[in-house]
């Protein structure tokens, strides 16, 4: 009887976007909004939401977690101590959102002070690893006033340095340019594979600064690069967001067969089936139930990593022509009823009710709806 109630609730939840409360932590959680001041040269500020001040006296490199904002549409304003509005913007906040508002820019005409939104990535953290989300807000200018890139390198254990070069120059787009690092084997408990972050300005040829970020299995860490390389030196701030229970990665078996969905975005589903091959014993195939450009229901097939679109077929189902899709996706299973879906190339947003994988989140967390739990073998 319990099963029946569960199934019906789940089914309706998938169909109507209701319920699924038990499965969806987002449905019960309030959004998380943090605020950080990383605009070199800007005065101390306060943050107002809908004309109500939330935080006061926030100076450069000051970070305030959980400022407390309810879901809905909001008008945000950043004011200096003398009451002048430095910058403002609108924000649409969903219950499941987790984000940071960064005050950034240097106040010049080509890079005014602005409030950027940076969504937390939601990768489940796999065993023995942590995640590092990097946001570059440095504003370094050359002698002529032109913006200069900041170089950022990461070296973990014996792994080679991965250099990225970026600078904050998003103008007024209002979206932070984030990078995400997933460090396998990066664990404080074992002392292995410590990571070093190297930071260098292109303004001079001096040795790059070396920073050692905190590390621990399950740590969800942000790093923020800020400064102007002159009166405000380039620097990295580390913000510990959470230490989470890590998840395992399990190989697919027929125990995962069934209907899966994203509780945060009901409407699209995946009918998953274990389809092993000799070369890949954990290969899966799936029918993806989604929607076309005119909002009509349509379906595609995920075969291994490639998503195939049908070019057409007849209503009798005797003939169909396959279209090779360029979209590629990967599913990692963490339990019989918990998986994460990530895009390898292309976008899923074209044909599903799922959010774009690149923004605001990088993975979609899937829960198994039917049948519940692990399938017993040989029973249907």
């Amino acid at each position: 009887m319990h099963n029946r109630t569960y199934h019906e609730a789940g089914w309706r939840g998938w169909l109507l976007g209701l319920a699924m409360i038990a499965l969806s932590p987002a449905a019960t959680a309030a959004p998380r909004v943090d605020f950080g001041h990383y605009a070199p040269g800007a005065p101390m500020v306060s943050l107002e939401i809908d004309d109500q001040a939330l935080v006061h006296q926030v100076g450069y490199r000051d970070y305030r977690a959980h400022v407390g904002v309810a879901p809905g549409s909001h008008r945000l304003r950043v004011r200096s101590a003398d009451g002048a509005v430095i910058t403002e913007r609108d924000l649409e906040l969903a219950p499941s959102d987790s984000l940071v508002l960064f005050l950034a820019g240097d106040g010049r005409a080509d890079l005014p002070y602005q409030l950027l939104v940076s969504y937390d990535h939601n990768h489940p953290i796999e065993e023995g690893s942590m995640t590092l989300q990097s946001t570059t807000l440095s504003v370094v200018r050359g002698a002529e006033g032109q913006l200069q890139p900041t170089s950022l390198g990461t070296q973990c254990g014996s792994l080679q340095v991965r250099w990225t070069t970026s600078h904050f120059a998003n103008g007024t787009e209002g979206i932070a340019n984030d990078d995400i690092g997933l460090f396998g084997g990066y664990s404080l408990s074992t002392g292995r594979n410590h990571c070093i972050t190297l930071l260098a300005s292109s303004l001079d040829a001096s040795e790059p600064q070396a920073h050692v970020p905190p590390s621990a299995a399950g740590l969800r860490l942000r790093e923020v690069i800020s400064g102007n390389g002159r009166d405000y030196p380039l620097t990295i701030d580390y913000i510990q967001q959470a230490v989470e229970q890590t998840v395992q990665v399990v190989g697919a078996t027929s125990a995962i067969d069934g209907l899966w969905f994203d509780p945060n975005n009901p409407g699209s589903g995946l009918l998953l089936a274990h389809a092993p091959t000799e070369a890949d014993p954990h290969r899966v195939k799936a029918i993806i139930y989604g929607f076309g450009r005119q909002a009509q229901a349509t379906w595609r097939v995920l075969d291994g990593e490639q998503i195939l679109q049908f070019a057409g077929g007849d209503p009798d189902g005797t003939r169909a022509v396959v279209g090779v899709g360029r979209t590629e996706a990967e599913i990692r299973f963490h339990a019989c009823d918990f998986a994460s879906l990530r895009s390898l190339s292309g976008s899923l947003i074209e044909f599903t009710a799922l959010p774009n994988l690149q923004f605001p989140r990088d993975v979609i967390l899937l829960r198994k709806l039917l049948p519940a739990g692990c399938n017993p073998p040989g029973v249907g």
């Binding site: 009887m1 099963n3 029946r4 199934h7 019906e8 089914w11 169909l15 109507l16 976007g17 027929s254 067969d257 069934g258 209907l259 009901p266 409407g267 589903g269 009918l271 998953l272 089936a273 274990h274 389809a275 195939k285 799936a286 029918i287 139930y289 929607f291 450009r293 909002a295 009509q296 229901a297 349509t298 379906w299 595609r300 195939l308 679109q309 049908f310 070019a311 057409g312 077929g313 007849d314 209503p315 009798d316 189902g317 005797t318 003939r319 169909a320 022509v321 396959v322 279209g323 090779v324 899709g325 360029r326 292309g346 009710a353 039917l370 049948p371 399938n375 040989g378 029973v379 249907g380």
Partner: protein, 368 residues
């Protein structure tokens, strides 16, 4: 006097360049006009070119009046006036007859220029070849996201790999690129091409040689002439690939997925609620326009064991997620692994599916 000499020299140079002949490929890619003759400046230069035939001639440069005529009736099918120039890139000029005109009328088109034209091509790219995808089918490209079509391709050669996608490929306006060729052994390429709604194509072991053109031509109209991918390596027709059709067999191997062996391009996922006599499911099929569509199934047990009355719901995201009753159906289990489904969508003929479970089971909730 000196001016006069220079003028005469220039005139001589122009005349000599006009009479110089270059190789010109001729191809018939218009599927429904029968064999054709090609006439250039009033002279027949090729006779009886069938569909997908390719010929090579030596053609003097200069102004050309070209016509394609039916080899049987002599009637003019298409005409073109064009200046035939010296090729400066690896594009080997080609005259195509394709059904790209209004309502599929045949058209002549001379491909002899390229956005990749480089005067000193041979010196700058000595080990490269020129490749192009050309839509010579009746499918017209549009900018509309609603009525357009999608093109996706992946080309993998021994040394290089490229891919792309987008909405549409205008007729006879090729996608072009250069690829590096191993000078000693040549290069072998594989092209996967998705051209919705024409279908998917795959051609492998395409020989690519240095300073030579490889053309991938999508041809056909999908009605009287099937959509095909013709591959020309140099002046040779290397392959003609048909659209890839779904292989017979279930779309998914799962004990929740049912299919009809004689109608394998659709399927049904069924979830019986243990002990409840309730059924939830999905049905993925194609509508009368040939578009992939899925429905939700909600079922309840009837008096007869193994029988389920079904309500079929259409789903859309017009204004948020919306369910609309679209028909009714009945499902009858014969045993744990065989069943019959009858789907009656409003205003459409009833569809019967003789279902079998794609992964048979020993026990099932359906007959409990």
């Amino acid at each position: 006097m000196r001016t006069c000499i220079l003028f005469l020299a220039a005139l001589l140079l122009q005349v000599s360049s006009q009479v110089r002949a270059d190789p010109l490929l001729l191809g018939n890619f218009a599927g429904d006009v029968g064999p054709v003759d090609i006439h250039v400046n009033g002279q027949r230069v090729a006779a009886g070119l069938d569909y997908l035939d390719v010929a090579s001639i030596d053609q003097p440069r200069g102004s050309l009046t070209i016509s394609a005529r039916s080899a049987t009736s002599g009637a003019e099918l298409a005409a073109l006036q064009v200046v035939f120039k010296a090729a400066i890139s690896p594009v080997q000029p080609m005259l195509l007859l394709a059904s790209t005109g209004e309502q599929g009328a045949p058209e002549l088109w001379l491909q002899q220029e390229s956005r990749l034209d480089v005067a000193d091509f041979a010196e700058r790219f000595p080990d490269s070849a020129f490749l192009s995808i050309i839509n010579a089918s009746t499918i017209e490209s549009t900018e509309s996201l609603d009525s357009g079509f999608q093109l996706q391709y992946q080309l993998a050669c021994q040394r290089s790999r490229t891919s792309g996608s987008g909405f549409g490929l205008p007729q006879l306006e090729p996608i072009e690129w250069l690829t590096t060729v191993d000078a000693e052994v040549g290069s072998l390429c594989t092209l996967q091409l998705g051209f919705t709604p024409a279908g998917a194509f795959e051609v492998s072991a395409i020989p690519v040689r240095s300073r030579e053109s490889v053309r991938f031509l999508i041809v056909g109209n999908g009605e009287t002439i099937p959509f095909q991918l013709a591959v020309l390596a140099g002046d040779q027709l290397h392959a003609v690939a048909d659209a890839i059709e779904v292989e017979p067999g279930p779309l998914l191997p799962s004990n929740q997925f049912w299919f009809d062996r004689s109608r394998p391009a659709q399927g049904v996922a069924l979830f019986e609620m243990p002990g409840a006599g309730l059924l939830h499911g999905t049905w993925q099929t194609f509508n009368t326009s040939g578009e992939a569509v899925w429905y939700l199934l909600d079922g309840a047990a009837r008096n007869l064991p193994g029988d389920r009355d079904l309500t079929i719901f259409a789903v859309d995201m017009e204004d948020g997620l919306r369910l609309t009753p679209a028909g009714t159906g009945r499902l009858t289990y014969f045993n744990c692994n065989e069943a019959e489904a009858r789907f009656a969508l409003s205003g459409q003929p009833v569809r019967f599916l003789r279902l079998e479970r794609s992964e048979p089971v020993d026990q099932c909730y359906a007959l409990e």
